[in-house]
């Protein structure tokens, strides 16, 4: 799809965002929710497969709703991380990716600490802070779609596969991908990072957050 076509498609479907946002009309963050919904619409337009047998509107509504719900969840549970720790977390993230590229496998914690000339405890604190963060960065949500069809087949082996699919459906699409790749395809976090085009620390954050959100939904499943 060319850029003008894409822009036109987004403009043609923007009414869906306002339609979904109607239930939040009295919300003080209405404008931000609409913005989150627009991001969901753009994601849907960029990843829509016209040959999949469903219309764009049908495909886009769950994505729009998911983005809005995710915005509300993030807002209610976001954890403030001190600036210094955020800076270290950012350095650790870069170091993990660089050392993985150099060595062909994920580095140990002492290796990361030595690379950055910091204490091992600082690396561990940065990792915990990374998991405590809940906000999704743009790069996480713009990752390419992995081929999930075969993973859905492995979920089908579960007696309660429908409940699992429904629970996964409440997560942003990239979180669904990460969960399926880690827990059903048994890929390592390094492999998932490579496949989704995101950093390993983002994968860690996504998995921790996804499990936290899925736990109450799948308590008995």
């Amino acid at each position: 799809m060319s850029t003008p076509e894409r822009d036109q498609t987004i403009a043609d479907h923007v009414g869906l965002v306002y339609h979904v946002a109607r239930r939040y009309q009295s919300h003080s963050d209405y404008e931000d929710l609409v913005q989150a919904g627009l991001e969901g619409l753009i994601y849907a337009v960029d990843h829509f497969d016209p040959h999949a047998g469903t219309g764009l509107s049908t495909y886009a509504v769950p994505s729009i709703r998911g983005s809005m719900q995710h915005y509300l969840r993030d807002k209610s549970s976001s954890v403030r991380i001190p600036g210094k720790l955020q800076e270290i977390a950012s350095q650790v993230s870069k170091a993990v990716d660089e050392l993985t590229q150099q060595g062909g496998c994920a580095p140990t914690i002492p290796a990361i600490a030595a690379h950055l000339n910091i204490q091992e405890d600082d690396v561990l604190h940065a990792m915990e802070a990374n998991i405590a963060r809940t906000t999704v960065s743009a790069s996480e949500d713009n990752s390419p779609l992995a081929n999930l069809a075969s993973l859905d087949t492995s979920i089908d082996d579960f007696e309660n596969s429908q409940a699992i699919q429904q629970a996964l459906g409440t997560l942003p699409i990239v979180d669904q991908q990460a969960v399926k790749l880690r827990f059903f395809a048994n890929k390592s976090q390094t492999e998932i990072a490579h496949e989704l085009g995101i950093s390993q620390m983002q994968v860690s954050r996504i998995l921790a957050r996804a499990l936290r959100e899925l736990r109450p939904l799948l308590r008995d499943i």
Binding site: T108, I109, L124, F184, S204, L207
Partner: protein, 124 residues
Amino acid sequence: MSIALHLPAQPAYASIARNLAATIAARCELTYDRVEDARLAIDEAFNQVVSNAPDNAEVVCTFVEEIGAMEFMVQSRTDLKDLLPTDTFSWTVLSALADEVHTTNVDGVLSVIARVEEPQNAAA
């Protein structure tokens, strides 16, 4: 040598077990991936054990460290009459995160035991 951590059987204490697991996994020279797996695995095991524990129970997390591998056991008194079910999403998660995992329920004490190790250790 093993390291033991005693905590109230409440989900809010999982973060303490997570942090200790990560620290010990780092001491075992596990790679970044596996440290994160260990952290998620103990979180999952802790929540499974706690959700089947009676009020006012205590959870004991025991860790055994070696170079390239870490074992942990999460244990508490339980209301459960049988073993933890292993056909659940939670157990699938735990099985994917750990290289070995099993559960016991002996004399009203529920345990989840898991081992996280580097691939070269697993192959040896």
